[in-house]
Amino acid sequence: MDAYLISVMTFIGIWIIMAMSLNLLVGYAGQVSIGHAAFFGIGGYTVAVATVKMGLPFPIDLVLAAVVSGILGGFLGLPALRVRHDFLVLATIGINFIVVAVFQYTPALGGAYGIVGIPPIAIAGVELLGLGMLLLVAAIAVALFVLKALLLKTWFGVRLIAIREDEDAAAAIGINVASTKIWAFVLACGGAGIAGALYARQLGSVFPENFGFVESVTVLTMVVLGGAGTLIGPVIGAIILGGLPEYLRFLHEWRYVIYGLLLTVLVIFERDGLMGPESRLRALLTRLLRRAAAEP
């Protein structure tokens, strides 16, 4: 397979992990965050420090990235206990700026020059490059997809949806709203940390500007476009928005106009996202699948 295509697909796989993690927070728990890239970055920088400065091997660096991002994400959950809706969005944007500034102005993290020379992942002495890395990212994405589906089938899944629907009503049936929110942030940010870890390994370097506001908006758009609160939606959103800019590369800078236009049209005509419960596309696909299944 073409090395460029493999690289694009690997990054799409990383975006899928990011979008799935944000979907847990936004789509299921109803806590809108436009600061998710901060935890993507924390995961990336954790791996950079763990490998370049401490020489830790895979998968210890990956686990460390998930744990550090998850714990710091839990702290991000604290403002969500006091503010809701628009104010929470502003708070998460603020946190994204703070985290990027910390990357930028901390000499130990390389400041604006970032951290370079992150080695590729090696398993049993064999470096995963190209297709090997793509397969690893795909395997982790599938594992996280299954884990998320299983999580949503537990009572914790009910807790998430209940606080999204109505926090007062959730509390009235015995749900600890504060703890549910904090755990939602821990799990979602831990997932972003895993994505960041893979991103750093794939790219071989981390820079503050890789984890800014634009990346946060991009991943939120993937979730909303695909269908927040659906299992498959963010995967579809990440494939489209992760792949489209590459596919339209021949249009040079004009591709962003088409990209923006497409987004606007989709949001107007499919407010629930492409795979949302009220989506026309989902209804059409369901009809086609049923028809195909009914045919002898």
């Binding site: 299983l150 999580l151 089938k153 537990t154 009572w155 914790f156 899944g157 009910v158 807790r159 949806i161 209940a162 629907e165 109505d166 007062d168 009503a169 959730a170 509390a171 009235a172 049936i173 015995g174 749900i175 600890n176 709203v177 703890s179 755990w183 609160g229 419960p277």
Partner: protein
Amino acid sequence: MSDALLALSGLSRRFGGLRALEDVDLEAREGEILGLIGPNGAGKSTLFNCLSGHLAVSAGRIRFAGRDVTRLAAARRARLGMARTFQLGKAFQSMTVRENVAAGLGIAAYGSFWRSLAGRASGGARDRRSNAILERFDLRSQAGARVRELPMGVQRRVEAARAFATGPRLLLLDEPAAGLTHGEAEAFAGMVRGVRDAGVTIIVIEHNMTFAMRLAERMYVLVDGRIIAEGPPEAVRADPAVVDAYLG
């Protein structure tokens, strides 16, 4: 009193300079249907919010099932057996009727994150319990429907069914007949009596005086944040203070 499941003493709630509740004493006895009536703005819903823990009290104490719950969070009170519905209706809109009831049945798993990681596999005793609750609230035929697609009267039953599913000792119903037709309100009253017969103590806030008088066995009248009368419905109806302040 020894048979009081719930006892409020000296309960007050202030919002800035406004005294929404002032020195309220109230008791609910095990197994009764207690009515709480009063004109708009009397403080009825504020009292419910203080009772359920959705609002902190400014002064006073709340004892429930023999323990002081004044400082406990709403979720803790719910897990101790205090369930409620809301004046504006808060059934989970994107869930189906059956999922709403199931959400109530999960109460034992909501205490900690780790406990809530238990799977909620369907089948067996939980499905039977779920079906029995749907039956009790006449929701079997709409079990698979999304709540947001259902009329208000059905949504109120869904919310009550979800509250009942938590297995409460005390059920607080906030204006359950609001927005219902006469027939729906009558049917709902029958369901409430059935819930009481199943061993649940009920406090019902009602603006609809006729509905409240027919349903409750004992009543409190709240006016301007104070209890002005207490007793059986007939006695309350004849109380000059009630006639003067509320019934006109």
